[in-house]
Structures are given as C-alpha cells and as structure tokens.
Symmetry: C2
C-alpha cells in the first residue's frame, strides 16, 4: 500500500500550491502518478484526504525546547528563532491556505493555531528564568515582548517572499529580532 504515502505527499504539495478548492482530485492523482479512483478508494473523499494531509504535516513538527537554565540568551534565542523561522517558512504555503479557509473548513483550525500557543509558553518560561536570575528587567512587559517576537517570526516567514525589502537580510534576521527583543525585556547587555 505504497499509494497511500504517494497520494498524501502529492496532496500536500498540491494543497500548498492551490488551496482546497484548487486542489482537484485530478491534479492530486496526476501529481501522485496514481489513478484518480485509487484516491477515492483509499481516502473516501477529498475532504477526508485533506484532513489526513494536515494530520500528517501536523504530527511531524516537534518544536525544539530552550535550555533551562539559560546560559547565553542571545546565542540560544538566536539559534532557536532561526530554527523556528525555518519551520514556519516550510509550512508557509499550507498555513496560509489553512488560515484563509478557516471559515469554510473549521476542521483545519487546530493545524493553523496550535503551534503559536505552545511557542508562547516556551518563550515565556525562558524569559521568566532570565528574570529569576536577575538577567532581565522584572518590570518589563514580557508577554508583550514575546508576542512581538513570535509575530516577527511569523511575519518574516510569511511576508518576506512578497516584500523582501521590508525585512533584514535573511541570515541576519533572527539575530536582529532577538537583540531587539532582549533590549525590550531589559536584557540587552548580555555578559
């Protein structure tokens, strides 16, 4: 039953390119090099196939953790942000379509939303550790700053392809976001 995998992969590619409405069963079958009937025999319907695709692309994304306790915040955060940036860039096309179809296909909501909350608590914990160690301003708006950092990563991954001039060069982006972030939480001078 090798067809199942081929169809899943092909459907993922086609869906990422054209969205649900544009991802016709013909296109998917052709992309998979498989007969259209096989697609229906294996997944039952186009909707079920899409759910399987999102499931497959959801489970395989495990978010990296941050060191506890923090040692070198700038380096650790920069590396982590770079990682996350890459992950979001990879999911970008699928994410965009999932979001734009949220009203009509609510079952994609989990795929579209879940990541953000997890990432948020991860960063919140890290900053709390910094504060506990006296290495970040305890009065800073850490929640706001974390929100901004995450939005910056999302915005970069989503927006750079369409407006590259509005972002720092790709290889500097993570470091610069992190530095601004650290200044915002009063941890700008790492020692």
């Amino acid at each position: 039953m090798i067809s199942r995998e081929r169809i899943l992969e092909a459907a993922g590619r086609v869906y990422a390119k054209h969205g649900f409405r544009g991802a016709t069963t013909r296109l998917i079958a052709a992309e998979a090099g498989v007969n259209e009937v096989t697609l229906f025999r294996t997944f039952g319907s186009k909707g079920a196939l899409l759910e399987a695709v999102l499931d497959a692309n959801d489970h395989c994304q495990q978010i990296r953790r941050l060191p506890d306790p923090p040692v070198d915040p700038e380096a650790e955060l920069t590396s982590w942000v770079n990682d996350h940036l890459q992950r979001v860039r990879d999911m970008r096309p699928m994410l965009i379509h999932a979001i734009s179809e949220l009203d009509e296909r609510p079952e994609v909501a989990e795929f579209a939303c879940r990541g953000r909350a997890e990432v948020h608590v991860l960063l919140d914990d890290y900053v709390a550790s910094l504060q506990r160690l006296g290495r970040a301003d305890p009065a800073a708006d850490t929640f706001g700053a974390v929100t901004m950092l995450i939005s910056s990563v999302m915005g970069d991954a989503m927006g750079r392809p369409m407006a590259p001039d509005s972002f720092p060069p790709a290889e500097e982006a993570a470091r610069r976001y992190v530095r601004c972030f650290l200044r915002a939480i009063g941890a700008g001078h790492s020692r």
Copy 2:
C-alpha cells in the same frame, strides 16, 4: 448606473468571505440583488470584477502620517498603531485571501504588498527624527525594530481572531507594542 457600486460592494464582501474560487458569480449577483447577466455586462468577466474590487479597496486606504517633529512619542505612536491596527483588521479577510492566491493571481500582488513598504518608511522617518533629537539610541537597530513593530501589528490583526490568548487584550495591545518598541530603540524613558 447604480448597479456597478452594488456589485462592487457585494463582490468585496463575498470575496472576503470565500476567496476568488469560492466567490461565484451567482453568489455575488445574489448578494448584490442583481441579475447575474448584469454583472458580466458591467465588468466583462469575473477576473476583471475582482481587479476592480481590489482597486476600489486599495485606493480608499490613506495611511495616516506621523507628526514631525515628534513631541510625545509614546502617545503619538500608540494612537498611530491603534489606527493602523484597525485598518489592517478591517482588510484582514481580503488580505488573507489575496495573499493565499498570490501564486495563481499575481495581479493582486500590489494590493497585498504596497501598504507595508509605505508604513515602513513612515516609521523609519519618525525614528530617525527621534534619533536626531537625541531621544533614541543612535546605535539601535531601528530597521529591525520597525520591522518587528509592523509584524506585530499585522500578526495581531491577522492572528487574534484565531488565537486570542496569544495576544494582549485588544485595548492595551497598541500601547504595549509601542512601549516594547521604544525600549528596543533606546527611547523607553519618555520625558
């Protein structure tokens, strides 16, 4: 020729809800309370109608300027960010669909991209003024910080409806983003 306006408005609503593929000419005509044929007689084709819709919704958005010279950065920026936030929230559905359809309908690119660049130079100029007045750290990464602030506004407007817990309360959001921003550019202590 009142039909033209009614069709344009209806098409805008339907497109914002369902995207290009989902915005069938039937739906639009029904929403406008107009015969489907009238739609084709007035705009020629569905594609031309969409272009007209984006044009109409593009021209009518004039971006507010920031005071020059700056007097009270936190207040001025907060008010401006609130404004911009509201504007992006209003365009959110249309924007999301435009972005997700960029590959298939490149003619929407301008609608999707133009705003960001303009906003960027606006904020850059404002921060440059602050630096010239000695009220912001001249060594700060202003470009990075501005990018982050804009991404935060976009991220808030786009993401809050799907993940409200990942953002500060709506009425505080602008102020908190601005405060983090000012700290990042070394202008945290406004006097």
